[in-house]
């Protein structure tokens, strides 16, 4: 079965889940997992496949969330239009940050530090521009997106079930698109950049252009995620752009696995459900994320998916 087919099968299973599980609590956790899964998968495009550790992802996520709300309030547009406008803004910002970083050929660690600096600058702007963003207090989102459903006309998206299907569809779309890109010639170029960019250069691959493409594409998806996430949650605050948020994204990807397009979703599922299954507060969550990050780096660098598939390969070879 091809990877895309596998994804569709799993997606179908999740689509049927609400028939069996009516619990709003569980469905809510799943919605968050799907959306954070999108965030993790898009981050992995930049980090796992192109080899660039970007600390700007949370910034893309948060900026889009704020921008969507602001567009709706100040320009009077619908949620979906706001989402597109926000995504455009994030795309432009990503291109600026990306062009600056890649023009100067920043490698790995230095790229991480500079993207971190830009992310912090964005967070400071959001934190201090009280008139627009309400500063540390954040914004409560009263508005809800509207959707046209066959047979029902235009409806407000206000039930967990509707969000469930929207977020599942968005995640599946993200995964399928990423799969297609990764298995194409562009995915090969990413691999070249990740493994030996000097060699890629002499073989005719425009390293600058494809690093920028991966960076912009990843941030674009993060932007869409931010809009959806904020409106599902019902609020936004500067913490969306924080280092803790970036840390959570990296932890999800490292836990799930860097080597496969959909593997980070596993990390997202685990890390999102954990605090709810074992009832711990924000402080313990920090400890857990941090420990998971450390443990995966040192003991399980392939992540859950990578380790399992290695085991499977070894058993089949034996």
């Amino acid at each position: 079965m091809t990877a895309s087919a596998r994804v569709l099968v799993v997606a179908a299973a999740f689509a049927l889940l609400p028939v069996l599980i009516k619990s709003d609590f569980i469905l809510t956790i799943l919605v968050f997992s799907f959306l954070l899964g999108m965030l993790a998968v898009s981050f992995n495009l930049i980090f796992g496949f192109t080899g660039q550790l970007s600390m700007f992802h949370a910034a893309a996520f948060g900026i889009a969330a704020y921008a969507t709300h602001l567009a709706m309030v100040h320009l009077g547009v619908s949620f979906w239009t706001g989402m597109l406008l926000a995504a455009t803004l994030v795309a432009v910002l990503s291109l600026i940050v990306g062009i600056i970083c890649f023009r100067f050929r920043l490698k790995e660690f230095y790229f991480a530090v500079v993207t971190l600096a830009f992310s912090e600058m964005a967070r400071l702007v959001v934190l201090n521009w009280n008139s627009v963003t309400n500063g540390t207090l954040g914004i409560i989102l009263q508005d809800k997106p509207s959707l046209w459903l066959p047979g029902q006309g235009v409806v407000k998206v206000d039930s967990t079930l509707m969000w469930y299907f929207i977020s599942l569809a968005a995640l599946v779309l993200t995964v399928l698109v990423c799969l297609r890109v990764i298995s194409s010639w562009m995915g090969r170029s990413f691999a070249a950049i990740r493994l030996n960019d000097e060699l890629g250069d002499t073989l005719g691959i425009n390293v600058f252009r494809y690093k920028l493409a991966a960076f912009a594409a990843g941030n674009l998806i993060a932007a869409f995620t931010g809009s959806l996430y904020a409106f599902f949650l019902g609020s936004i605050e500067p913490g969306f752009l924080s280092i803790e948020q970036s840390l959570a994204i990296v932890a999800m990807v490292l836990l799930g696995g860097r080597g496969a397009v959909a593997a980070p979703v596993i990390g997202a599922l685990v890390l999102t459900s954990l605090p709810h299954l074992i009832h711990f507060g924000a402080e313990v969550r920090s400890i857990v994320y941090g420990s998971i990050l450390i443990l995966t780096i040192l003991l399980m660098p392939q992540g859950i998916y990578g380790t399992l598939s290695n085991l499977g390969r070894r058993r089949r070879a034996a």
């Binding site: 660690f109 230095y110 991480a112 600096a117 990296v250 924000a282 941090g290 420990s291």
Partner: protein
């Protein structure tokens, strides 16, 4: 206006020594173990809380609590080194990820133990010095002198003692140094312990000047890295100058620009230097 500027200059210089002591830890760690230890901010926080705990809860005299806090922090550093950093030598990316993970663990732990309510120890040495019309809190002057002394002593140790010269030689050429008998593993662990101790000292002294909370380290480590990079990593006195330069810029800048911009200076310096002098800033080492 001149008074205001002079006051900010002085204050900036003092804050600069705080940046500088952590920056010194960053520089030393990078030179010998090849990673940038972002967790030094969290160790600073640990030192601050240990000083507070020993003074406020355990009733120890502050001048005694400080060395104890430093020792505890250094011990924690040793633990972290043996369990974590030992496996990320010379791997900048893994070192970054592991230190960020460690920060989360330490900050979460501090939040659990002591909550996010800030703790205050500014009663330790009240009172001010007044000279030339400038008012300087006594404790700030003490902190300034102690940190300055420690940084200068470190510089002296690196240039005059056998251990220091071995460390310097190692940072310039690891293979050659090893061939000449330098015990790499011991030196690497030693540097981590020393730099966490420095961070602990910075934190313990900080606690007597400002209120402390579990996330105080995050702000400081970024400033410390900026300071270290500003003047050139690998340079001990550079950490001091970089820290003071940053502190003064922030202080004087806050007179003319809204306070919100204060944290931005360091970020802009950081980006500018990393863009235009990426190898140069780590001159002397890979």
């Amino acid at each position: 206006m001149g008074q205001l500027i002079l006051g900010q200059l002085l204050n900036g210089a003092i804050v600069g020594t705080l940046y500088g002591i952590i920056a010194l830890g960053v520089t030393l760690t990078f030179g010998i173990t090849g990673i940038v230890n972002f967790a030094l901010g969290a160790f600073m926080m640990l030192g601050a809380y240990m000083a507070w705990f020993l003074t406020d809860e355990a009733g120890l005299a502050y001048p005694l609590a400080v060395p104890c806090a430093v020792a505890i922090t250094a011990l924690a550093g040793l633990l972290a080194d043996q369990t974590l950093f030992r496996f990320t030598r010379n791997n900048l990316v893994n070192g970054l990820l592991v230190s960020i993970g460690l920060i989360a663990v330490m900050e979460g732990g501090a939040l659990l133990l002591w909550t996010s309510t800030p703790k205050n120890m500014e009663y330790v040495l009240p009172g001010v010095f007044t000279f030339f019309g400038l008012v300087v809190p006594k404790m700030k002057l003490v902190v300034f002198l102690v940190l300055l002394g420690v940084i200068l002593a470190t510089y002296a140790a690196l240039t005059r003692t056998w251990i220091g010269r071995a460390a310097y030689a190692y940072s310039q050429n690891p293979e050659a140094a090893e061939l000449m008998g330098v015990r790499t593993k011991v030196m690497q662990s030693g540097v981590v312990v020393y730099s966490t101790g420095l961070a602990g000292l910075g934190g313990a002294l900080y606690a007597s000047l400002y209120s402390i909370d579990p996330t105080m380290g995050s702000v400081y480590i970024l400033k410390a890295v900026e300071s270290a990079i500003l003047a050139g990593i690998g340079s001990v006195m550079g950490s001091l100058f970089g820290g003071v330069l940053l502190g003064i810029t922030e202080g004087v800048g806050s007179i003319y620009l809204p306070i919100a911009f204060r944290d931005a200076y360091g970020l802009i310096f950081l980006v500018a230097i990393l863009l235009f002098k990426p190898a140069g800033l780590f001159a002397g080492r890979r």
